[in-house]
Amino acid sequence: MNAPSRRLATGVALLLGARGAVATDLTLEVSDPDGKPVADAVVYAAPVTGTAPPVRPKLRAIIDQVHKEFVPRVSIVQTGTEIFFPNSDNIRHSIYSFSPAKTFATKLYSGREAAPVLFDTTGLVILGCNIHDTMVAWVFVVDTPWFGKTDADGASTIKGIPPGEYRISAAAPAPSGNLKSIEMTLRVGGDGPQRQSVSLLAGG
């Protein structure tokens, strides 16, 4: 793309606002301090400048109960999301959270559909089951629609991020139960359609 057309594109983007600007698919690669890829890490991008995008209505997510485990064990949802617990085990579970971002308790019974739970505050919510001690799930509630979860190679692509300055966060529950997290500021897009691949290298 030459300089004049880039200026033109910028001008159009300014006229249309962020929504009309070209968006970027941002790939984040999350690795642990030893450089190994981290699967099941959550990643999300929150705009540093400008207004956050409007919350979409009727956001829904599912955390199932399979062989007395939560599936998936790690979730990331936008604030305002209703999470359903379909209980494929079809035995009784007694799900609870003491986390400040969402404190609740709900019982799941065989053959009965339970009401979904609304997650409306940002933060980390840790779920357990009163009947089955070993069940644990992590739910990250974020106030941005730009988020993802890393695959087996530690990579996640967040699609359609409008150009701008973003705070990028990545977090993963460690086997010990402690959480490893990363935060950084990153300029995304702003130069026409492009694909940026960002590797987060954990140091320190």
């Binding site: 019974y109 009947i131 529950p173 950084m184 691949s197 290298l201 320190g204």
Partner: protein, 155 residues
Amino acid sequence: MRSHRLVVAVTLLAASFSAASIAQTPAPLIPPPQVAPPGSLYERLGGTSKVAAFVGQTIDIVAANPEMNQSFDKVNLQHVKDLLIAQICSLTGGGCRYTGDTMRDVHAGHHISNAEFFDLVEVLRAAMRAQHVPLGARNELLEILAPMKRDVVKL
């Protein structure tokens, strides 16, 4: 379309969360009485200490037996024991209030067989004998528990 590769080194932040916030909810129970109400079956069973002993023994034996423990996999056994003690206390005049789920809700989906049910009854009888619960009281308790079979097996 161009492809940029941007490698950014960042610092690992101190872990800001911990799974230590996972804790058990206290069992919603009225504690069983120190002294059993005089004349009650609960008293003849030996009161809270004996009931807790034979309930605990029963659950431990069943949960450790591969032939009988399919419903107890990953289950918080202390929670089960506490609720069973409260339920027996409630059913035998001990003055407790059972606040757990119905027997049907508790067992639904576990596909418990007749054999598993009767095996557990046998373990319970042996545990009561081991605790020297008198024969009459043992039979009275089994008589109270027997009708629950329809809300336990083949669900």
